[in-house]
Structure formats: C-alpha cells, structure tokens
C-alpha cells in the first residue's frame, strides 16, 4: 500500500507478530480503525511468532487438539518452577485463566491446529500445536485482519513515540524513504524484545555478545522499548538477562530458528576451547537443561564449545541440520575442530576412566550411568566415548528473547515510573512478557501471553479510542 493511504487510525499497533495481530483484530472487531506498522518486509513479517509452534492452554477436559486436562494450579506451578518466583501471581493466574478462551479466538481467526497426539514432543497435553507452525498462524491472522479492514504497512519502522504527560501525542515512523508522523487516538506496542540489538546486548554481556547468535527475527531491535523507557515508562525484568540456549555454532546470525537446535549434549561431553569439560552434561533430561547451556557456553572463552559423542549416540537425538564433524580417532577429531589433540584426548580418557556401569535410559532421568571421581561430574547418560566414528558439533549461545520489558497492569496498560499509568498506551507480547515470565522459559507460554494480552490491549485501546 502507498504511504498516502496511511491516515491517523483510532488504534495504532506497533509490531506485526502474534500479539500485535491479536490486538489489531480485536480492536477492529470492536469498531476501531486500525493501522499496523510492521518493521519487517511482508515476506519476513510476524516477528518471532514465525518461529513458534504451539501455545500453552489451560483446559479442563480433552479437546480436539489437547489431551487430558491441564488446570490452573498445575499451570501456575509449572510457571512458578521455571521462573523461580520471578512472576506476578495475579497477572499470571489471569493469563492462565484467559488461555482457556484463546483457542476459540484463534480458531475464529482461521488458525489451524494439528490433531492431538501427533508430534515427537510430549507436549500434546499442555500445548496446542499450530498446523504448519507459527508462520501459518501469522498468515491466518493477517488474512483475517485484511478481511476486517485492518491497514498494514510493511517495512515500517517506528522510531519514536512522544510520551507527554502520560499520553502518546504522536508516533514517528519511517516507511521506505519517508518519515511519517501519526497521531492515533490509542497505541498498542507489541514490538518484541531487544534481542536483535547487538549493541544493547553488549551493554549487558560485554564484548562476548559479539559471538551470540540471535535465533529469531533481526527486527526485534528494542527501539520502541528503549524510547519509552527513556521517557519514563516503568520497566520490569532484569535488563541483563536473556533466554539463551546452546545451538549449532554454524547457524546464521539471525533467524536460524528451530533447526539450529542441537539435542546431543546429554549423550556425550562438552569441551571448551582448551579442550576441557566445564559442566555436568547429564544434569537432567535435555528439555529441562536446554536453556542453561546458552549461558554456560557464553561464559567460555570466545563463547564457543563442542559437543563430542561417539557412534553409539548417533541415533539418540533429532537429526541436525548441519553436518556432523566426524573422525576415526579423537585426536583427528580435535584437529578438525581446531583444538589441541592431546588436551581433548586427555579429557576423553579421564572421562572414560571415570564412567561407571549402569542402566542406560536415554530419555529418562532414571538413567543409571554416571561418572565417579570426576570434576565436573556427569551424573546421567555417562557412557565411555570409545566407538568410532567420533562425532562433534560446535555450540554457541543462541538468544531467544530478552526479559526487560514495559511494566503493565492486568489491562495491559503501560505503567509509568513513580506511579500512574499512561492514558492511551497499551503493551502486549514480548515487550511486556517480563511482567509474568521474569526468568526461565515455559514452552508455548510466550504465545499465550501474546494472545491474551494482545486481545486485552486491543479491546482496551479500542474502547479508549471510541470514547
């Protein structure tokens, strides 16, 4: 669409992912005129939602897409565990209860789900899987928004929002070559975190941040977040924290998504640049430990490590998109990795010597294979690395999202430093997820927050705009 068509809408939605789309559709249905400013071009629209796959939904009985039941208290306990208490119980429980209605809303927007029971992940009780994944979901929402008459501008980067006495007076955006000034009645910011802003990551992590890989969209630059925090919007969440997992070091700098994941860590050892081990690779089943390895690798010299397994472990994990690095001996493998062969051989020898016999259960924490007298120990799945060919995958920290966000209340209204709330500004999605998920990660919960608060913010913003 041409810029000439962009008139001041009732509700301006900043961002183009799941939360933004839920807000836009809801506000439009309430009768408001809505404009979405999406930073990405059309083909890459949808923020990190394009990389998602499921949504965690509370339900009392089996549905077409969810098995058994998943009730509020269990959901809350799951959240409490991963956040270690860094959450807001009132907001969290409200979100959990609202997740019950999310699937119907999504269905009404053309989002399709996979039937329950399918998939290799054991999440079909708690999480509803989108047929085709997050990009298919995003496509469905855009189609719905279009049919409702929501205007969408792609390649539209919001540079600043003028927050004056708690009110957004105007919004400046760059669309193509043109700078645009809009005066919407209400604004919903759903523009994500700042994980794609390498400079900002450096502030928190030091020069090592150069070696981080951003798993999602390069458009999550945090420009809107920084702008609003600088004007007195209250913040929530630790500014130095991000969700980081260990991914294949050969992944592209941005947007590598799910396929860069490596699941082999528990079945071998992980060494750093000096060829030494640095953490218990068998601490817990992989999905639970997946998230700590980003930080562990980030703390190693040059932010790199290598997972080394042998032929016995080859079939135990999901295929990787990048080829395995293989060799017939450990020293040869070390040379291929650019490591000191003697150091790696010594680490492997020390590990093999410490392995004690036990019952090997590759997918269970009841596995009985552990090392003895080794520092750091390997407490599960410790089997000698002795069967050629030997296999290695390089690891780097992969940043999924950041925790710093805008503080909101249960109506998604943005709160101000020193008390009070903005009068015409709401936030939804990753930009405010830190209110509820202050730490850790719970599969599909980001989409729940985005959907629930997207709908709330859209409704509130429309109500405000329509007076």
């Amino acid at each position: 669409m041409g810029e000439a068509q962009l008139r001041d809408p009732d509700v301006l939605v900043v961002g183009g992912g799941n939360a933004a789309l839920c807000a836009a559709v809801t506000a439009r249905r309430a009768g408001a005129s809505v404009l979405i400013l999406e930073h990405a071009p059309r083909d890459m629209r949808g923020g990190n939602s394009r990389h998602t796959r499921n949504l965690r939904a509370m339900h009392a009985a089996p549905t077409e897409v969810l098995t058994e039941a998943y009730l509020e208290d269990e959901y809350w306990q799951d959240l409490l565990r991963v956040t270690g208490g860094q959450t807001d119980e009132h907001l969290a429980r409200m979100t959990i209860r609202a997740s019950r209605g999310a699937l119907d809303f999504m269905d009404g927007c053309g989002v399709k789900f996979q039937p329950a029971l399918s998939g290799t992940l054991s999440l079909s009780r708690t999480n509803a899987f989108f047929l085709g994944g997050g990009k298919a979901l995003v496509n469905a929402y855009y189609a719905t928004a279009k049919a409702l008459g929501v205007e969408v501008a792609y390649g539209a980067e919001v540079r600043s929002l003028a927050l004056d006495k708690g009110r957004i007076a105007q919004v400046e955006a760059v669309v193509g070559e043109e700078t645009l000034t809009l005066k919407p009645k209400a604004v919903v910011v759903a523009s994500g975190g700042f994980q794609a802003n390498l400079e900002w990551l450096r502030e928190a992590w030091g020069p090592g941040a150069e070696n981080f890989i951003i798993r999602g969209t390069p458009y999550a630059t945090g420009t809107v977040l920084k702008d609003l925090l600088g004007q007195g919007a209250a913040s929530v969440g630790d500014p130095t924290q991000c969700h980081a997992v260990a991914i294949d070091a050969r992944a592209p700098k941005f947007d590598g998504g799910i396929v860069t994941r490596l699941d082999c860590v528990p079945f071998g050892i992980v060494v750093n640049k000096t060829g030494a081990r640095f953490h218990d690779e068998g601490e817990d089943v992989w999905p639970k430990r997946y998230a700590i390895w980003g930080r562990l690798v980030a703390q190693q010299p040059d932010q790199i490590a290598w997972s080394i397994i042998d032929a016995k472990a080859r079939e135990l994990f999901m295929p990787s998109v990048f080829p395995a690095i293989t060799a017939d001996t450990i020293p040869e493998l070390a040379v291929k990795l650019g490591l000191d062969p003697a150091a790696v051989q010594a680490t492997v020898d020390g590990f093999n010597a410490a392995v004690r016999p036990g019952e090997f259960k590759p997918t269970s924490i009841e596995d009985g294979c552990a090392t003895q007298g080794l520092t750091p120990p390997k407490t599960h799945w410790a089997r000698a690395i002795d069967t050629a060919p030997f296999i290695a995958y390089p690891l780097r920290p992969g940043i999924t999202f950041t925790y710093l966000g805008l503080k909101t209340d249960e109506t998604a209204r943005v709160q101000l430093e020193g008390g009070g709330a903005a009068s015409n500004l709401w936030a939804a999605g990753e930009i405010m997820a830190g209110n509820i998920l202050g730490k850790g990660y719970l599969a599909g919960f980001g989409m729940t927050i985005g959907t629930v608060f997207g709908r709330i913010s859209g409704e509130e913003a429309a109500r405000h705009a329509l007076g």
């Binding site: 047929l131 085709g132 994944g133 990009k135 496509n139 998504g257 994941r261 295929p319 990787s320």
Partner: protein
C-alpha cells in the same frame, strides 16, 4: 546458503535435512511423516518423496525458511523439479526419456502428428469419406472402419500399458522394492480416490494453498472433475463396446443412451476440471512452482481438454457434413492421448499411487 545451482537431488536432500530438523509441517501431508522415518536420504528415498508430494504448496507458505530466508527452502518447487526428472529416469524404453526434456513440446507435436495422421490417412486412403456427411447407425465406421479405429486405439493403449508397467516397476525398485500388504493398498486407493492430500490437514478438511496463503478445496475439486470425468468417458467407451459387440448396435447412439449420457457428462466434467486446473495454475503464486515443468503440465491439461471438447463437438456435429473431419480430429487426439500416457504428466498418477502405497505400507509397519 541457497543452493540454486545444485542438481535437483542435492537440493532435495539439503531441503529434506532442514525439514527433518524442523518438522513443523508434519501435519500437512504424507511427505513429512515419510521424511521423519529417515535420518539420511538415498536418491531412491528422495525420488519417492518427490512423487509422494502432491504440490499442494501448504509447506511453502508455512515455511519460516522459505526465500528470502537464506536457507531458501522451497519444498514444492524442489520436489516438482525432481519429480519431473524421475519421469525421465523411469521412462521405458530408456531412449524415450528424451520425450520429457521439453514435455510441453512433445505433447503438442504428438497431438499434431496424431491429428495429421488420421486426417491425412483418410484424405489419402478414403478421400470421399471426408466430404460426405452421413448420419444413422454405423455412420462413424463408414468414415473410419471399426477395425482400424479399435486396432489403432488398442495397439497404442497396449503399448502404453506395457511402458507404464515397466516404469512402475522401475519406480518401485528404485525406491526400495519390497512388498506392500493389502491394507496398505486399500489405504493408498482411498487416498487416490479422495485426493486426501489435496485437502490439507484434518483428513482433508482444511484445504490446501491452491492460489496463495489462503486455503481452498478448489484444486481438489477440479482434479476430481477431471479424474472422474475421465472415468465416465472410459465407462462410456466400455458400455459402447458392450453395445457394439453384444447388442450389435453400432455407434452413434441416441442422445438418451448410456454411452452418450456417460460420455457427455464425463466430457463436460473433464473440460471443467482441466480448465479449472489450468486457471488455478495461471493465477496461483508462482514462487512455489517449478517453471520447467509448467509446459508439460499445461500441455496435458490442454490435451485432456481437447479430448473432451472434440468428443462433445463430435456429438454436436455428428449429423452434419462436418462429422467426418471432427471424428478424425477426435480420433487423432484420443490416439495421441493413449500414446502419451507413459510420456507425459499422465504418469504422475502411476508414481503418485505407488508412492502412496509405499507411504501407507511404511505407516502400517511403523504402527505395528
């Protein structure tokens, strides 16, 4: 990095490895579950997956790695390119694989030759038959004797059946051989007859990406019209054969007779189906299409449309002076169609069916 210059097999292998690490599309069709049963992909595996793909394009529109992403994943396009190569690879006899090089041209030339042969043959051997319109029972055979008509059709059909059988054997061996149980065959036949995988998720209720990002059942409906229309025309021919041989009634038959009703309904359905499929192809998002196969695709749709249209034309004009010429053209088209069965996009039905059989057999084995 995008692997645009690599041969189809390498590109397909690369894309299947990316897909196998993602698996978000597992709910769309049979290709992804079949892919998930493998960690590594032999050439035969890829040829199998290529023929299992129905080109519904859902996985392209859902793909987070589709261009302009640097991974450049475009499964429908990649598998369509590879699929076209497998048609040549399995062609029998081998030298005729060349007919797939520019299949659109092949089809056009064969049809032109077919029409020229019948028309020219008549003009040369029996010029008077072309100019004298004659109605009444046995009129067609007074233009082209039954023995000639049935002989030419039967011989070309026999040859084609032989070639298709050899191609089918080659496909089956290349993709792993083995035996499939009866249950798998029933399931494969069900998938063929319902075009289950042109219906999208939820057992075909969701629809596919026929045109762009939105879902529809249009391609499935048009393909059904073409497929079952073809079936009705075939039934019409069979009934006519019974009329002729056992009831001793020679064509043309009255408008209310079974062969005419079946043939007219079938022909109309074929024209709607072929026209609709061509229209969908023309308006659909070109990004997931493989350009090099489009010529052969359109040519086959045109041929099927022509087969039906000349048949209906013959019905309309059978009592006029134009009948002999229209009959000759129709016969030329039909003979070309028969001859082209193993050397055109028509083979997709054979390999798709066999791929579905293999997929059903694998699923049953996995389930047991």
């Amino acid at each position: 990095m995008p692997l645009v210059d690599r041969p189809s097999l390498d590109k397909a292998r690369y894309e299947m490895e990316v897909c196998n690490a993602c698996r978000y599309c597992e709910g769309y069709c049979a290709v992804f579950p079949a892919m998930m049963r493998r960690r590594e992909f032999t050439d035969g595996d890829l040829n199998y997956l290529a023929n299992l793909c129905h080109g519904c394009k859902a996985c392209f529109h859902a793909c987070q790695y589709a261009p302009p992403h640097q991974f450049g994943i475009n499964v429908p396009q990649t598998l369509a390119s590879l699929r076209a190569e497998t048609y040549a690879q399995y062609a029998w006899p081998r030298p005729l694989a060349v007919l797939y090089r520019k299949n659109g041209v092949t089809v056009a030339v064969v049809v032109a030759l077919g029409i020229a042969l019948v028309l020219g043959g008549l003009a040369f051997l029996k010029p008077e038959a072309l100019t004298t319109g004659q109605g009444g029972e046995g009129a067609f055979y007074r233009v082209i004797p039954w023995r000639v008509m049935a002989g030419a059709a039967g011989l070309s059909l026999l040859w084609s059946m032989l070639a298709l059988t050899m191609g089918g054997i080659r496909f089956w061996r290349d993709t792993g051989g083995g035996l499939a149980k009866g249950g798998a065959a029933a399931q494969a036949i069900h998938s063929v007859l319902t075009l289950r995988y042109l219906g999208g998720g939820h057992d075909g209720q969701d629809g596919c990406n026929d045109v762009g990002e939105s879902f529809s059942q249009e391609r499935r409906a048009f393909h059904h019209a073409l497929f079952y229309g073809f079936g009705l025309c075939f039934a019409s021919t069979c009934v006519a054969f019974v009329y002729d041989h056992f009831l001793f009634r020679a064509a043309p038959y009255p408008l209310t007779s079974a062969p005419v009703i079946l043939g007219t309904a079938g022909g109309a359905a074929m024209m709607i189906g072929a026209g609709g499929m061509a229209w969908l192809k023309a308006v659909s998002d070109p990004r997931p299409e493989a350009r090099q196969v489009l010529g052969g695709d359109y040519a086959l749709l045109a041929l099927l449309f022509a087969a039906a249209a000349t048949g209906i034309g013959l019905l309309a004009l059978r009592d006029t002076d134009a009948m002999p010429v229209v009959l000759a053209v129709h016969m030329g088209v039909i003979l070309s169609l028969f001859a082209l069965l193993p050397y055109s996009k028509m083979v997709h039905g054979l390999y798709r069916g066999l791929a579905l059989l293999r997929s059903a057999a694998e699923a049953k084995q996995e389930g047991s």
